[in-house]
């Protein structure tokens, strides 16, 4: 019998998993890019980004592009390792 580790509840949510999968393949992405690719609402994305950032999975950088405020997100080492653990656990469930 395989040892089935529980799936990280922070990642086991459609939007947060989507955001993390997107960020894991990139160096950094702006808020608008995440919104475009996930198709979610700005409010929902903001809430999920905050949760991921509080857990230390991503880094949120606030700056300005011209006069407009700019939010850029970047996955952290903690985030990469959490994502890898999640994928490994997921594999065990599926196999």
């Amino acid at each position: 019998m395989k040892d089935l580790t529980p799936l990280d509840p922070l990642l086991h949510s459609q939007l947060r998993l989507g955001i993390m999968s997107l960020l894991i393949s990139l160096e950094s992405a702006e808020f608008t890019f995440i919104k475009e690719k996930t198709g979610a609402t700005a409010g929902n994305i903001s809430v999920q980004l905050d949760k991921l950032s509080t857990a230390g999975y991503i880094e949120i950088i606030k700056s300005f592009k011209g006069k407009k405020p700019l939010t850029t997100c970047k996955v952290t080492k903690v985030g990469i390792s959490a994502f890898e653990t999640y994928v490994k656990a997921l594999k065990n469930y599926i196999e």
């Binding site: 949510s13 998993l17 989507g18 999968s21 997107l22 393949s25 990139l26 950094s28 702006e30």
Partner: protein
């Protein structure tokens, strides 16, 4: 959105999002290939024609065209950087390769007399490296073929006198930059 996810759904999200990120490479590569392609081809041809058919004293003056081209390339680069909403692990590396190639091209021009005025052949060789790497990174085969054309042009140039090297250089750039550049442009759209 605290919905319940099945394991296969999770896997599907991961795959879809990674594919979305992958499809997002910088779509401005063709601009540089076409800009430099046309400028260098015109300068090569101009230099060749001036030497062959006129007695103009400064045929190399046509290369002054590369100065405004460099300014346009820098302006375009800054504009694209400000416009990009995403940075891939590749985007920095892609530009770095061309910076390296550019430095080597300038060095070969500085030491023209030391390399026996074979700078044309050496520049083709260096441009081939950049084009080859760009083709591999963008997974765009016509650029790889273009790189091979540049290397063939380089071999031909090494066996020709300086003036004829400019003619071969123009043909090499047409095959290595301009044709793949237009193909890349249509692939980007």
């Amino acid at each position: 959105m605290e919905d319940k996810l099945s394991h296969t759904e999770s896997l599907k999200i991961i795959n879809e999002m990674i594919a979305q990120a992958k499809n997002n490479f910088d779509k401005s590569g063709s601009f540089y290939f076409l800009l430099w392609g046309w400028v260098v081809m015109v300068a090569n041809l101009g230099h060749y024609l001036l030497v062959r058919f006129t007695s103009y004293e400064y045929p190399f003056a046509v290369w002054l065209l590369t100065i405004p081209a460099a300014l346009v390339a820098a302006w375009y680069g800054v504009r694209q950087k400000n416009k990009a909403s995403v940075k891939t692990h590749f985007s920095g590396l892609y530009g770095d390769i061309w910076i390296g190639v550019g430095i080597c091209i300038v060095l070969s021009l500085v030491f023209m007399p030391k390399i026996n005025f074979n700078h044309g052949a050496i520049i083709m060789m260096l441009a081939g490296i950049g084009t080859f790497m760009s083709g591999r990174m963008l997974k765009f085969q016509p650029l790889v073929v273009g790189a091979i054309a540049l290397w063939i042009a380089s071999v031909v140039c090494f066996n020709l006198p300086e003036t004829d090297q400019y003619l071969v250089g123009a043909i090499g750039i047409l095959a290595g930059y301009i044709i793949p550049g237009y193909l890349l442009k249509s692939a980007e759209q």
